[in-house]
């Protein structure tokens, strides 16, 4: 399936989700739903155009297979996202500065940074600078937890 077909199918599912679930169950009133319904209907126009374009490309035999290494690389990069969720979850428990320091260290390990003095200083220096400038000078409160 080429890019145009994939996008049109995804948009179609998105429109179906909006039209049959999100709008009727999460908007009260016909007039209130007018704008989202109008936009959902309008979205069908590019959806159909992309589908036609995708079909004609498929008939012409234009293929864009995704190599294995690309999928592996995408998954490796996207692994940052669950790590971020853990980071945010721990921020509430341990506090912003401690968690940030810990996760800077983890990210640096994940990105395979060279182990030098700066490798160990960076996780301390960044939260410290944020604490001095934003926390102390500008008096901006960051989430506090068990430690700080």
């Amino acid at each position: 399936m080429n890019n145009d077909l994939k996008l049109s199918v995804l948009l179609l599912f998105f429109c179906i989700f909006l039209w049959f679930y999100a709008i009727p169950y999460h908007i009260k009133g016909t007039l209130q739903a007018l704008v989202p319904r109008g936009l959902t209907l309008s979205m069908m126009v590019p959806c159909v155009l992309l589908f036609i374009n995708g079909l004609s490309s498929a008939r012409a035999g234009i293929k864009h297979p995704l190599p294995d290494y690309q999928i592996r690389a995408s998954l490796t990069a996207l692994a940052i996202v669950p790590m971020m969720f853990v980071y945010l979850f721990l921020t509430d428990i341990l506090g912003f500065y401690v968690t940030t320091s810990l996760f800077i260290f983890i990210f640096m390990l994940y990105f395979k940074a060279k182990k030098s003095i700066s490798f160990y200083l960076f996780p301390i220096a960044v939260p410290l600078i944020v604490y001095v400038i934003i926390g102390r000078i500008l008096h901006f409160p960051f989430p506090e937890g068990l430690f700080f």
Partner: protein, 510 residues
């Protein structure tokens, strides 16, 4: 009148006032460089402080803050792809690729000079054309607003994307995202899925940071991992300690903007100033739209449009000039009518009132010297931005020389901080992450992300103005065709769409 001009100049040229203006520019630049801290936030932070200063010193400081903050926002946009202020998001498009090529200094200088030139020109428009421009601004009501927004969205959807259909998807997606929150007409919740934090809709800063900065980190990481995997598969020499590639060489030439380069971007700066200033006349449309429209027009009229998005200095110049040129005309309703055109102008109006000064139609007669002093302060603040900015970027540009693991980690942390500080809400950081994933996915499908953001920004305004226009006219749709300005913009939309589609077709054939 001449006496008032001289008196205004005398009021400004006091060492204490100059010092506070310079301090304002410096603070503004530092605050603007911190993602999430905007110039408006800077004004709020320093407004109580100005109470202890003389009227001119206080206003000089606040004006300096806005000018410095506006330019400051472009610094993280160029260096980290994180816009320091929402309007700097367009600067990311070419500023960050330039920084990746080791030309961060050049990009920052192009941003600085474009900002200062455009801001100074827009101040001159304010000084010399305030009265006629105010008359035009007064004629812009809901029908005119609606047509202008439709024009902006039509131009953006076709011109910004490689394929117009994808541009349309981007615009519609942005408009749909803009419907999340509270219905502007009925005040009822809309598409918030019982999440109370969404009652105000998505906040712009987490959205911009997630879509532009964080998703870019994911894409860059993926590219680096692909490189290392390809090396591994092809049994080429791979350095496991340096998975994230080599850094760019630091040539002094890469940080200089030569006179010939400046001359080549000058027409772009002047065109973008014109576009930005026109947008600035219309209160509320904002700097982001001015910046993006200027960028698109620069791309359309460039001899090398394919270089846009890959590190075109013209792109940086257009974005920064378009964004800063909005500022002067935005102050026109404040100075002539006493009506603030944007949030910064509203805060400055507050500062005026704190000093017992009420801007409005009679302000020129009652406080003429003060008004001229304000004009001189605006021009002087530009000069300070140029000088302070020049030295400031000399130091901050070196940030791009740090190894990629440090840079990516820094971007991740500052994305979290930038999303959090606006509303002190962890929920906004989750929103930023959600938009990062969305941005990553949309990039894979070649959907233009700034178009989504601008459409999201304009969507609620379009809906409100459309409803107001229909309510005023008793649901008569011809109101858009009977008002001259509205009709002109609708015709302009048709002409622009036809022209842009034809141009796209010609370029595709070539």
């Amino acid at each position: 009148m001449f006496e008032q001009v001289l008196s205004g100049l005398n009021m400004v040229l006091v060492p204490q006032n100059l010092m506070w203006a310079a301090a304002g520019v410096t603070f503004g630049m530092i605050l603007g460089s911190i993602p999430g801290l905007t110039d408006n936030m800077g004004i709020v932070l320093f407004l109580p402080f100005t109470f202890y200063l003389s009227p001119i010193a206080g206003i000089a400081m606040l004006m300096g803050l806005t000018k410095g903050g506006n330019f400051g926002g472009s610094i993280p946009a160029v260096l980290f792809n994180i816009p320091g202020t929402p309007q700097a998001m367009v600067t990311c498009l070419d500023g960050y690729p330039l920084a990746q090529q080791g030309k961060g200094g050049k990009a920052l200088k192009a941003a600085l000079y474009s900002s200062v030139v455009a801001d100074a020109c827009s101040d001159l428009i304010l000084i010399f054309l305030a009265a006629p421009v105010a008359l035009v601004a007064l004629k812009i009501g809901p029908p005119e607003y609606t047509s202008i927004i439709i024009f902006s969205l039509a131009v953006i959807s076709i011109a910004a994307s490689e394929h117009p259909v994808r541009g349309l998807v981007a615009v519609l997606l942005g408009l749909l995202l803009g419907t999340v929150g509270t219905d502007p007409g009925f005040g009822t919740p809309r598409l918030i899925f019982h999440v109370i934090e969404l009652a105000d809709g998505f906040h712009i800063m987490p959205m911009v940071i997630g879509m532009l900065a964080f998703s870019e980190v994911l894409i860059q990481l993926e590219k680096e991992f692909i490189k290392s995997l390809v090396r591994k598969f092809s049994n080429m020499m791979a350095d496991p300690d340096k998975i994230l590639g080599s850094e760019n060489p630091d040539h002094p030439e890469n940080h200089r903007l030569s006179w010939s380069e400046f001359k080549s971007i000058l027409p772009t700066i002047m065109r973008s100033t014109g576009i930005g200033a026109t947008i600035g006349i219309i209160p509320g449309i904002g700097t982001t739209v001015g910046s993006y429209l200027s960028y698109i027009m620069a791309k359309q009229s460039s001899k090398n449009p394919k270089s846009f998005g890959k590190g075109a200095i013209e792109g940086v110049a257009a974005a920064e000039a378009g964004n800063n040129a909005v500022n002067g005309p935005n102050l026109i309703p404040l100075v002539t009518l006493g009506i603030p055109g944007n949030l910064a102008a509203a805060l400055i109006l507050g500062a005026f009132m704190m000093k017992g000064l009420i801007p409005g139609p009679t302000f020129m007669q009652t406080n003429g010297d003060m008004l001229y002093a304000l004009f001189f302060v605006l021009l002087l603040s530009n000069l300070f931005t140029l000088v302070i900015g020049y030295f400031y970027i000399k130091y901050v540009r070196n940030v791009t020389a740090v190894p990629k693991p440090y840079l990516f980690t820094g971007i991740i942390v500052f994305s979290v901080i930038g999303s959090y500080v606006g509303y002190a809400s962890i929920f906004d950081v989750y929103v930023m992450l959600a938009f990062a994933i969305l941005g990553y996915g949309l990039t894979k499908f070649k959907i233009n992300l700034p178009t989504v953001i601008v459409a999201f920004f304009l969507g609620p305004m379009l809906e409100t103005k459309l409803r107001q226009a229909l309510k005023i006219s008793g649901d008569d749709i011809t109101v858009f065709f009977t008002k001259p300005i509205s009709l002109s913009f609708l015709i302009l939309t048709l002409v622009a769409v036809t022209f842009l589609l034809k141009r796209k077709r010609t370029l595709a054939k070539d």
